[in-house]
Symmetry: C2
Subunit: 318 residues, 2 copies
Amino acid sequence: MKPVIIEKEEIIKLLDFKEIISVIEKSFIDFSEGKLVMPPPQDIVIEEFRGETHIKSAYVEGNDSYCVKIASGFYDNPKLGLNSSQGMMILLDSKTGAPKCILLEDGILTDYRTAAAGAVAAKYLARADSKNVLVIGSGIQARLQVEFLLQVFEIQRLCVWGRNEESVKNYCDYISKFNFLDLEVLTTVQDHKEIDIVITTTPARSPLLSVVEKGAHVNAVGADMPGKQELSPKLLAKAKIITDSTSQCEKSGELQHALQSGDICLKDVHAELGEIVSKTKKGRESSDEITIFDSTGLGIQDLAIAKYVYEKFINLAE
Amino acid sequence: MKPVIIEKEEIIKLLDFKEIISVIEKSFIDFSEGKLVMPPPQDIVIEEFRGETHIKSAYVEGNDSYCVKIASGFYDNPKLGLNSSQGMMILLDSKTGAPKCILLEDGILTDYRTAAAGAVAAKYLARADSKNVLVIGSGIQARLQVEFLLQVFEIQRLCVWGRNEESVKNYCDYISKFNFLDLEVLTTVQDHKEIDIVITTTPARSPLLSVVEKGAHVNAVGADMPGKQELSPKLLAKAKIITDSTSQCEKSGELQHALQSGDICLKDVHAELGEIVSKTKKGRESSDEITIFDSTGLGIQDLAIAKYVYEKFINLAE
């Protein structure tokens, strides 16, 4: 049996926001309850060309497929007219190891599953009446996080802050297709008022956000490797902290900094998101508390979205 | 640019023994002289189905491609009429990370590059007049090692020993196509006489071979992970030891056992094969000495053979 090969253009046509949220929501339960195989990532760093490739793999016991993801970031690619993100996902048959499907996705499935995880977190952690959103950053993740959030909340006002003026302008042009949104560009991050949900999506390596209002929820998406940081440890100290994987966030997420500075300790982490989705632990308990979702990205989310695309492709082909 | 996809049947048609020996010979020099990126393998073990997947990657500075290999062994596959070996190699562009080629090779390129490494080792280490060969094991590697060796030596007599009678019979049927070979099946390994080159190719976990004659060369191919062993440490103590990678052989090759038992210490290792190929160190120095090549398999060999197949495919297509 030769593997099915699905190209990026075909993959994009198959993606449905609501379906992906549901698939990723389920993957958080699998992560908390299932018997997993998720080896540490393999990293190939090509210094001469400012490139890096990370290989993440995941298997959930009982699942008919497992996933290997090759995801690269080559930071000089835009000069060549190419995306920085490159890569593919490969589904393998759990019983035989035979390749079932190669998804030539160039990193977009990582973008989608990350944004969907943000929507799942907000669904369980933000106030149900949330309507004012602040997004920090103006790249692909800043777009997708908002598009996924729109599936869950009736957002009315969207504030955006970004370092690069042209990129913020492009962001606004793109977002203007949601003409019901009251769009506002902030000159400084701290300028924001009456914000219910904050989403941080930058590759920053020092805090951009130190204060949010009572009752706000924060999706901290940017920090996903050692050294990256968007939130002040003081903000974490005031909040109820939920992680995608506490052990991974300790090394790669916002947790790394707040733990190191001593502003929090490990027992201050309230839960992993899967425990809240599966109702093992409580989510938001009052309209006053600040909640933070520390998101670093899990191999099991890659498995979930790869399998979703593959099965949808096969069903449509039949 | 979409990656080129090459299927197993097409790959097999492209493989030329002499060319592969030359490509692998060069890769040993790259290994000893080049600036390499070869991260530790990523291992995914799926216990329920007796399966394991190992991901090996390699990049050599200045090379226009780097390689990711997904190689699986699922030991119940033969019951399903499938090969135990499954997998693929992926070539990525060193400047951009973009996938250039996917080789759906099901593990055969690993088989070929391993056998070619044996021929390279024998070329530099066995006596030039070698004509009597003993092969231990009767699987695919026992076939290919002999086929590659035939490119380098005028073998006249081939002795074979294997645990499984039927498999040895199939081996002899296959090898009988080389009708100039005087073929002999041994009932015990120690039975052999006047053997110039010994090749061990089994998955054994305790010594099968403890004695060889003066002047013999041994290709120790089977031991390629912790726990595997085909040679007695006493035999290593009597021999000039050459490895593919000393640091890897310490963990996964015959070295692990001989070091642990104290029969040798690390300074007894004479050289890595690349140092001999590049003439930095001497190979065989007398017709009396016993030489042993401890082969564990290198990611750089995967890169070399994947690149060879890809370039040959592209050149033929043009």
